[in-house]
């Protein structure tokens, strides 16, 4: 096995509680999770199980009430908002169920948005955007607005936008939820291709079929991780179940297989 066990994301004893009216909702309880670079992970579970909260926390859109979060070896738990924004901009890509394209901007301008926000000079941006449009087969749709694009094209624009700054991790929240089966399949293939190029991919989904494609499958319920299964690269071998019970027991899969060559 190559030296690919480099840890990308490390969550230790993460707690997150929301106050809804008078009641306290434990969105995450004592979550320990280690994610290595290049992994392909599906997070599954019923509504309210805390999977979206986990994704938001990893994406630095939310803060933990307790516990620590290390991204690429750096403790990002206590970063100030501006530093968090910088990390989001450079290291994290988001893909949403409803695409979240800015309706008045063209496909090209939507893809350009992260570059614009980062203050990159316009000549450099144009180069990167045209490159991205080519890679995602959107060159002829560059000057169309989102309402002139099909669902699949919209999600491709969103993926191009999420990946244009080459983030370390791609966070996808129900990426196929608003797509029909065929276009959903295309989008998943696209995400898997990105993962094959080495980008860490975390997909939150209800869709069992989609979740089953991931090499590592995490199931959540009531704010905790109830199962963490990593499939062997060989489809014939069943996955190994590592229940995440003890707080000290990091949910580290014992057979991580980012065998990218295959």
């Amino acid at each position: 096995m190559p030296d690919d066990a480099e840890s990308l994301i490390q969550l230790n004893g993460i707690d997150r509680t929301f106050t809804l009216g008078d009641s306290q909702v434990h969105a995450l309880r004592n979550v320990n999770l280690n994610i290595n670079r290049g992994e392909y992970i599906a997070v599954m579970g019923p509504s309210g199980s805390g999977k979206s909260t986990l994704l938001n926390l990893i994406g630095l859109l939310d803060r933990a009430d307790a516990g620590t979060y290390q991204l690429e070896g750096r403790d990002v738990t206590t970063l100030d908002p501006n530093e968090q924004a910088k990390v989001r901009s450079e290291r994290i890509g988001f893909i949403f169920q409803s695409f979240h394209l800015v309706p008045r901007l063209t496909a090209a301008a939507n893809i350009e948005l992260p570059l614009t926000l980062s203050g990159m000079p316009s000549a450099e941006r144009a180069k990167r955007v045209s490159q991205a449009l080519k890679e995602y087969g959107l060159t002829d749709r560059a000057h169309h607005r989102p309402n002139e694009l099909s669902g699949g094209q919209r999600q491709r624009v969103a993926i191009a936008r999420a990946t244009i700054l080459r983030p370390a991790v791609l966070l996808a929240d129900e990426p196929t939820g608003n797509l029909d089966r065929v276009t959903g399949e295309e989008v998943v293939k696209l995400l898997e291709a990105l993962n094959a190029q080495g980008m860490t991919l975390i997909v939150v989904t209800h869709d069992q079929a989609l979740g089953a494609r991931a090499r590592r499958q995490i199931r959540m319920d009531d704010g905790g991780i109830v199962s963490d299964v990593t499939k062997s690269p060989d489809a014939a071998t069943p996955g190994i179940v590592t229940p995440n019970i003890a707080p000290t027991n990091l949910a580290t899969p014992d057979s991580v297989t980012p065998d990218l060559a295959t």
């Binding site: 859109l61 501006n82 989001r88 979240h100 316009s122």
Partner: protein, 400 residues
């Protein structure tokens, strides 16, 4: 985020709702146009009134007999115990440094008869310097000659209207005119000068002051006007005049009024008037500003999703604040430009429709109006932009 990018982003946001943005900026435009138009009228009136008062020149000092006391200045023409101003006083003042002329003045109202016609008109007794003091011009013939006191000949210079009334188009030069009980020979006609505060300055006749004193049986002058060199200090000249006359009279029994002081006071009053009408226009500007607050608040609510997205894409809070602020400023500034054009356009239309109505738009007002609209946009944008920058990104992304 670069400034050009955030400006473009703001413009795209504005143009994506054309109608709504237009109506919002129209609110500001109407306010700015109202301010521009009203202050233009105010400024026009200001300039008009000042021009009325300065048509005799601004570098004039008036000297009236009698001293202002608590009881007030005695009305001119009524004998007082004060020593009278004399022709000699006027002569003496001509020699002061920086004084370029001084004209005695005695005025009254008499019947003027010539060419078989009779007309009652205002008679000014003056001397050769009056033409400079009044900034007047002779149209035909000559002005009154420069003659020593006591030897002035019986010449008259007619105002243009008086000439028309008495002589029509006939040449009046050399004609004999009877004023009161005295006879005069016409040596010139003044160029038309128009009206001053309702007094027709052309329905007049100018005769030597000596003759006017005879005519009206007076021993002193009604007033002396001193003209001083352009650029000289009014206060210095006024002081010199006071000193000279005090020396001649033994004490200060006269009143010196500089045109400059009078104009300054007048100008201040007119400025307040301009500001007051400008403030009236400002009320409509305030309404326009409320429109911007409203539309920006709606915009933030509508674009909650987008704000969440921007945060997810790595936008700082400050960037989001700036985006919405620049959108508000841009709206207001566009409204300001439109209002400026509207205001100046209306002022021009008004000028064409009512040529007599004084309207004047100074550039400083135009620039000020634009700056003001930008500031209004900034103030109106603060609240919505702050609420945008404080949104929780998770809620914002989830909002539909």
């Amino acid at each position: 985020m670069l400034l050009t990018d955030s400006s473009r982003f703001a413009i795209q946001a504005i143009t994506s709702h054309r109608m709504r943005s237009f109506l919002t900026l129209l609110g500001i435009a109407v306010g700015i146009a109202a301010v521009i138009l009203l202050t233009s009228i105010g400024e026009g009136v200001h300039q008009f009134v000042l021009a009325e008062f300065t048509q005799f020149g601004t570098n004039v000092i008036g000297i009236a007999p009698g001293k202002v006391k608590t009881g007030g200045q005695p009305p001119t023409g009524i004998p007082t115990t004060a020593r009278l101003l004399t022709m000699e006083d006027a002569q003496s003042l001509k020699q002061l440094p920086q004084v370029t002329g001084s004209s005695p003045m005695v005025w009254g109202n008499s019947e003027v008869e010539s060419n078989g016609r009779l007309r009652r008109t205002t008679i000014y007794g003056v001397d050769a310097d009056f033409i400079h003091v009044f900034s007047a011009k002779v149209q035909i013939g000559n002005s009154l000659p420069r003659e020593g006191a006591g030897s002035s000949r019986a010449f008259v210079v007619l105002g243009s209207k008086l000439r028309n009334e008495l002589f029509g188009t006939a040449n009046p030069l050399g004609a004999r005119v009877r004023i009161g009980g005295l006879h005069f020979r016409v040596i010139g006609v003044m160029a038309p000068k128009g009206q001053f505060l309702g007094i027709d300055l052309d329905d007049t006749a100018f005769i030597p002051a000596q003759r006017a004193m005879e005519l009206y049986n007076r021993e002193g002058l009604t007033e002396i006007h001193v003209l001083y060199a352009e650029g000289a200090s009014a206060a210095t000249v006024a002081a010199a005049v006071k000193k000279r006359l005090a020396l001649r009279h033994g004490h200060e029994d006269f009143t010196v009024t500089t045109q400059e002081d009078m104009l300054k006071t007048l100008s201040n009053i007119l400025n307040i008037l301009t500001m007051a009408v400008g403030a009236l226009g400002g009320i409509s500007l305030l309404v326009g500003a409320v429109g911007i607050v409203t539309i920006m608040t709606i915009s933030v609510t509508e674009r909650t999703n987008e704000i969440g997205l921007l945060v997810a894409l790595g936008a700082r809070r400050r960037t989001i604040l700036n985006l919405f602020l620049s959108e508000a400023v841009m709206l207001a500034a566009l409204g300001g430009i439109l209002g400026l054009l509207l205001g100046i356009g209306l002022a021009q239309v008004l000028r064409l429709a009512l040529p007599a109505f004084p309207v004047h738009t100074p550039w400083s007002f135009a620039v000020g109006a634009l700056a003001m609209s930008a500031v209004i946009g900034l103030l109106a944008g603060v609240l919505p932009a702050r609420s945008a920058s404080r949104l929780d990104p998770i809620d914002a992304l989830r909002a539909e």
